[in-house]
């Protein structure tokens, strides 16, 4: 048992939840600190307050109630909290549900959608290794060898950079790694037909569905 009384534990979790939902990083990190001081487990802070909040953010985005500013604010508040609890999660018994390598393809620097996907994936329980933007094919190959991820995500925003996705998948095949990872793709102009054409395992139109899709293609139950 931890030292917090039931009501204050509930209050703290509710406060973090509401602050993440409202995109208030100050309130959210204060709540997280209060939770840690009250000996609430890091896992509980993440999975009983932040994750449900981000799930609600995703729902509101899909419903057209939240737009990019609100979603970015919530992801920002969540990240501020995660910075506090991430070191403690490493010690916890709960393992990540999978490892995800993410990157924006070569020649492309668009990263807003990619970063939102990272936040959603992390909140779903994945360990996310973000290779950043303008990532060449060999960096994806190296990351697969080094981190042995379950899935790789590639983002491209432009018609001129979309083709890099096909090249990257070719490079992963050439390296003999294709059957070791699921490959998921996204970006403004992509669609399922394009994902099929380049031989990806899935396409997601937004961050919320990216997290859902990843679990689906990896056969992870809710």
């Amino acid at each position: 048992m931890n030292g917090a009384t039931l009501s204050s534990r509930e209050d703290i979790l509710a406060r973090i939840h509401d602050c993440v939902l409202d995109g208030d990083p100050t309130g959210a990190t204060e709540g997280t600190r209060a939770g840690l001081e009250a000996d609430i487990e890091a896992m509980a802070l993440v999975y009983e307050s932040m994750v449900p909040a981000l799930r609600e953010v995703g729902r509101r985005f899909e419903a057209g109630e939240y737009f990019l500013p609100e979603m970015l604010m919530s992801a920002n508040a969540m990240q501020a909290c995660m910075d506090l609890v991430r070191p403690l999660l490493a010690d916890s018994a709960r393992k990540p549900i999978g490892t995800f390598v993410m990157g924006t393809v070569a020649g492309d620097i668009h990263d807003i959608g990619k970063n939102l996907c990272n936040a959603m994936l992390e909140s779903t329980g994945f360990k996310v290794i973000d290779l950043g933007v303008n990532v060449p094919a060999d960096a994806f190959v190296e990351a697969i060898t080094a981190h042995e991820p379950d899935a790789v995500g590639m983002s491209a925003f432009l018609t001129t950079t979309m083709r890099e996705i096909g090249r990257n998948i070719g490079a992963i095949e050439d390296a003999g790694l294709r059957d070791r990872v699921k490959i998921l793709v996204g970006g403004a102009l992509l669609d399922q037909a394009y994902a099929d054409e380049v031989g990806a395992d899935g396409y997601a139109p937004d961050a919320n569905s990216a997290a859902r899709l990843t679990k689906e293609v990896l056969g992870i139950d809710d």
Partner: protein
């Protein structure tokens, strides 16, 4: 009845049927053609002409097409634009190759892969206070070298009286400028987290936009038909921000800017805004937008051309419509021909349509497809339309 290109455009923006649907191509960045595709067009049709860059700005990568190519493309407008001050152009010409391109605002671009530049130099990235806006060394909009060439070029085009004159001062889009100064994600977040700051930044930028716009309009005098401004407000599926946030924070800035322009010119205002902006079109009409560009038909409700025409066609002119997401870069010339026909039939009845690409024609668009588009306008775009 045959019209001059200018008469064709003026009839269209007067909601009358011209002789054929006007073409807007190659005359600003958003309606322009990237250099590699421009070179391929010249090669394909056998035109020999010098490569020139729009705004004298190679890093932007958009061609300033020669007259013969513009004529082959059947484009009915000719462009006039400002320039960055001489000292900025000279500094950038003299800088180390591949080093960052910095403009007069202090923002700029980095070269990500050879020849591909992205706006990534964001001098107000960390700012969240009004003091930081006040302390920033904003550009001098009174530098005469920005507009020294404008009057002469516009007067020559007006004297020829062949083509409609579309003027596009560069870097005068308030939200786009705020993104350039802060980064898109940062500024969008600041709009929600620090609305007073975000609004102050938008109004400060708009003040500068108006300063330069006034010099620009004074140089143009009456020799201008269309002033193009804008700000990208849509995404592939929705809006960048909620309609409520747009109406609260940005619409007053846009409305004030458009009112200012209309006080100083009789030209029509073309408003460029990418993505699915369907929910805001009534707002644009209310602000005084005359022409909406680019009608991104691949994005959300903008694909519903029948509803667009029925609901807004009497109040606003459509400019653009030709899909740059799939049809132009990946389609066959026949698919381009059919898509051109579809756009003309859906949006062109009773005038009200100027056709063009939804975005800059990028370097992955085959020259054949650009020609297929303009040839299809010649084939299907003559009035009365055969529907």
């Amino acid at each position: 009845m045959s019209m001059t290109p200018r008469e064709r455009v003026l009839a269209t923006i007067d909601h009358r049927e011209p002789d054929r649907v006007p073409i807007v191509l190659g005359v600003s960045n958003a309606t322009g053609i990237k250099m590699r595709t421009y070179r391929e067009i010249k090669q394909l049709v056998g035109i020999v002409a010098e490569d020139r860059y729009l705004y004298d700005w190679p890093e932007l990568g958009t061609a300033d097409p020669d007259e013969a190519t513009l004529q082959r493309l059947g484009t009915d407008v000719r462009g006039v634009w400002d320039l960055e001050p001489d000292w900025v152009l000279e500094r950038n010409r003299a800088r180390e190759p591949h080093s960052d391109y910095i403009n007069s605002w202090g923002s700029g671009a980095k070269e990500i892969t050879p020849g591909e530049w992205f706006p990534m130099v964001e001098p107000l990235k960390a700012a969240t206070s009004i003091a930081e806006i006040e302390d920033y060394p904003w550009p001098d909009m009174h530098d005469p070298t920005r507009v020294a060439h404008v009057g002469e070029r516009a007067a020559r085009l007006a004297l020829e009286n062949q083509y409609a004159i579309m003027a596009t001062p560069w870097l005068l889009f308030p939200l786009e400028r705020a993104f350039a100064m802060q980064g898109m994600d940062t500024f969008l977040m600041n709009m929600a987290m620090y609305p007073d700051f975000a609004e102050a930044l938008l109004w400060r930028i708009e003040e500068l936009c108006k300063e330069l716009m006034l010099h620009f309009l004074e140089e143009l005098g009456d020799n201008v038909d269309i002033i193009k401004i804008g700000d990208d407000l849509g995404t592939q599926e929705s809006l960048l921000m909620s309609p409520a946030m747009y109406r609260q924070m940005l619409k007053p800035v846009h409305a004030d800017y458009i009112q200012f322009i209309k006080q100083h010119t009789r030209a029509q205002v073309m408003f460029h805004t990418d993505g699915d902006v369907f929910p805001l079109i009534d707002d644009f009409i209310e602000m005084g937008v005359d022409i909406l560009n680019p009608i991104q038909t691949s994005a959300g409700k903008m694909s519903n051309l029948t509803e667009l025409k029925q609901r807004f066609g009497d109040d606003i002119i459509f400019c653009g419509g030709m899909d740059t997401a799939r049809v132009l870069p990946q389609g066959t010339p026949e698919e381009v021909r059919q898509e051109t026909r579809r756009i003309i039939e859906a949006l062109g009845q009773d005038g009200g349509l100027m056709i063009g690409a939804v975005h800059t024609v990028m370097n992955d668009v085959p020259a054949e497809n650009v020609l297929a588009m303009v040839d299809a306008v010649e084939e299907f775009g003559h009035y009365p339309l055969e529907l």
